[in-house]
């Protein structure tokens, strides 16, 4: 039960770091990395639920969900990166606010 708690707390902390980073960071790259950290927290939480008391084996459903989730997260992050790169190429801007 102790390891379970460690996973839960870690996932919440990761999620909070990601959420904070998304709002506080200015640079596009930092914002995108923050969303990836958020995703990491959620996936850790989800995959730690595979160890269920009622089952003698690892529950396969969370693994399937996490794999799907990772695919979606990678796609979204790649898309966001390519957008950020295009913005930088056009205007040299790296943040949403106009002043450097």
């Amino acid at each position: 039960m102790e390891t379970y708690k460690i996973y839960s707390i870690t996932s919440v902390v990761l999620f909070a770091i990601g959420l904070g980073g998304l709002f506080l960071a200015k640079h596009f790259l930092r914002k995108i990395i923050a969303t990836i950290i958020m995703g990491g927290g959620v996936f850790l939480c989800l995959v730690s639920f595979a160890d269920r008391d009622s089952l003698s084996y690892a529950d396969p459903v969370p693994h399937a969900l996490v794999i799907t989730g990772i695919v979606v997260a990678v796609t979204a992050a790649a898309f966001a990166l390519s957008l950020a790169r295009r913005i930088h190429k056009f205007s040299g801007e790296e943040t949403f606010t106009d002043e450097k």
Binding site: F15, G18, L19, L22, F28, K31, I32, T35, M38, G39, G41, V42, C45, L46, F49, R52, S54, D59, V61, P62, L65, T68, G69, V72, A73, T75, A76, F79, A80, L83, A84, R86, I87, F90, S91, E93, F96
Partner: protein, 511 residues
């Protein structure tokens, strides 16, 4: 859930758009538009046929690959989802028609956006999938498909403003979906199931459920641009191409609303309190007032319409506090539930028609003028009477003047508000209508005002103007079958049902 008649239409409604999207990717750019146009007609016909199927048989289901839940995926099409799918198809066909002429009209100078059609079909598949889903994770996947396609469409023009607002939209949406997924993880951890039907039976009230409810609701509120999280919507919707703005405003934000409606009425009954409903209602009222006020201050037509979207989505949120009923009262005796549901559904439909018409008109005006500053709308009535008429009719529906669909929605909302005794929402609804009237009449006043220049409008194909006008008329025509539509919707299990709130601290609220 297994007892319902099986039908293959739910699976086809998702598969056909995906097939068309892949097919259009294979072909060269010239052929894509043809596939796009005929493909959208095909999906429209399919949606119509499946709508008729639901009218005849009631709720139908499809079990994918014969794998029954909880292992497999079950698609459910009840009257409520049939209405949303039908709405998507109706708006979708008209926007496809408009897009076809729109790209042909601007072909010479600016290119034809080859990725529009595949992205639009993937988006359509995602929307249909969302309306048919019956488990939490399926909803997550479909809303992610919708988000990524929507952002892809929003940045299609490749201009700096569109890219920046697209990235902002994408980041906000990723945060929203991560929050939603976190809630799903917690629910799966505490119950071991994702099926909505099953969850409503096994979900127990408690701290985990409360936290999951809060975080899922917050995630969905980011996705549908509810009041404190609306910051991404106006720039993203106004910087996109005209048909894309219409799609985003009319259909994409409705997806998250549908999800929230389903989850609140079917899954989270066990942990909803009176205060939770009030909180959502306050966010809605704030969105109505703030969005309408901001719309009044805009000087660009598209930004005005986008801010008005924030406001009109606020009306949808104000339906939620009415759905929550005191413990011990049965849904049948609470006579305000039916008006509240009618208001919600009609607000969705009439806003979808009116807003897509306004954005398509904005596209026509940009094509005619080269920009969309409001003060150059002068003399619009003389030179483009059809577009002026479309703007007027759609605007009247947004204000909520009879006999438009918007009037029906706002009237029923007011009726629900007074029947339930929650009178404090009425000023926000009325003031919102007044502000809406302010910005619509500001547009119309300019449209009728004489201009010093002689015909500064370039000619725009009539077909584009007809599309916008038909959509605007649609927001009036939906009132005609209103009674039948409500009767049909009552076949859906959740329509007209209330949420029995739990007692917290010995008080329900307004007793």
């Amino acid at each position: 859930m297994i007892n319902f008649p099986t039908s293959s239409f739910p699976a086809l409604l998702v598969a056909l758009p995906i097939f068309l999207a892949i097919l259009s990717l294979i072909f060269r750019i010239n052929r894509r538009a043809i596939i796009g146009l005929w493909g959208s007609f095909l999906i429209g016909i399919l949606a119509l046929v499946s709508f008729i199927e639901v009218i005849q048989k009631g709720t139908v289901i499809h079990i994918l690959g014969g794998w029954e839940p909880p292992l497999g995926i079950l698609l459910r099409m009840d009257p409520l989802s049939a209405v949303f799918i039908g709405l998507t198809a109706t708006i979708g066909v008209f926007i496809s028609l408009y897009t076809w002429w729109y790209f042909r009209a601007r072909e010479a100078s600016k290119g034809r956006f080859p990725l529009f059609w595949p992205l639009w079909f993937f988006l359509w598949a995602g929307l249909n999938g969302l309306f048919l889903s019956n488990d939490l994770f399926n909803l997550y996947v479909t809303i992610e498909i919708i988000t990524i396609c929507a952002v892809g469409l929003a940045v299609l023009s490749g201009e700096k403003n569109a890219l920046k607002s697209g990235l902002r939209y994408l980041l906000a949406a990723i945060a929203g979906s991560m929050a939603y997924l976190f809630g799903v993880a917690l629910i799966y951890g505490s119950t071991g199931t994702l099926d909505l039907e099953h969850l409503s039976e096994v979900l127990k009230p408690g701290k985990t459920t409360n936290f999951a409810l809060i975080i899922i609701t917050l995630g969905l509120m980011i996705k549908k641009a509810a009041f404190p999280f609306h910051f991404w919507l106006p720039p993203a919707h106004s910087a996109a191409l005209a048909p894309v703005s219409a799609l985003l405003s009319a259909l994409v934000v409705k997806g998250a609303f549908y999800m929230m409606l389903r989850l609140w009425t079917e899954v989270f009954e066990v942990s909803l309190t009176f205060a939770a409903g009030q909180l959502i209602g306050i966010a809605g009222a704030a969105a109505v007032l703030w969005g309408s006020w901001q719309a009044l201050l805009q000087t660009n037509f598209k930004l005005l319409v986008a801010h008005s979207s924030v406001a009109q989505m606020g009306y949808l949120l104000m339906m939620f506090p009415l759905l929550i009923i005191a413990p011990g009262i049965s849904s049948d005796s609470a006579n305000w539930l039916s008006p509240a549901w009618t208001a919600g559904i009609f607000q969705v439909i009439s806003h979808a028609f009116a807003k897509s018409s306004l954005f398509l008109s904005a596209g026509i005006i940009i094509m005619a003028l080269g920009h969309d500053r409001i003060e150059s709308l002068r003399d619009l009535v003389a030179w483009m009477p059809m577009t002026a008429m479309a703007i007027g009719i759609a605007g009247v529906s947004l204000i909520g003047l009879p006999p438009s669909g918007g009037f029906m929605a706002k009237w029923m909302l007011l009726k629900g508000v007074f029947l339930s005794g929650q009178w404090w929402w009425a000023p926000a609804i009325l003031l919102g209508s007044l502000l809406t009237a302010g910005y619509v009449f500001m547009l119309l006043r300019l449209a009728f005002a004489p201009s010093r220049e002689i015909n500064h409008f370039r000619s725009v194909p009539k077909s584009l103007q007809i599309c916008a006008l038909i959509l605007a008329l649609g927001s009036f025509l939906i009132v005609i079958p209103a009674e039948n539509l409500i009767q049909f919707l009552e076949g859906s299990e959740s329509f007209g049902s209330g949420i029995q709130s739990i007692v917290k601290g010995g008080r329900y609220g307004n007793e």
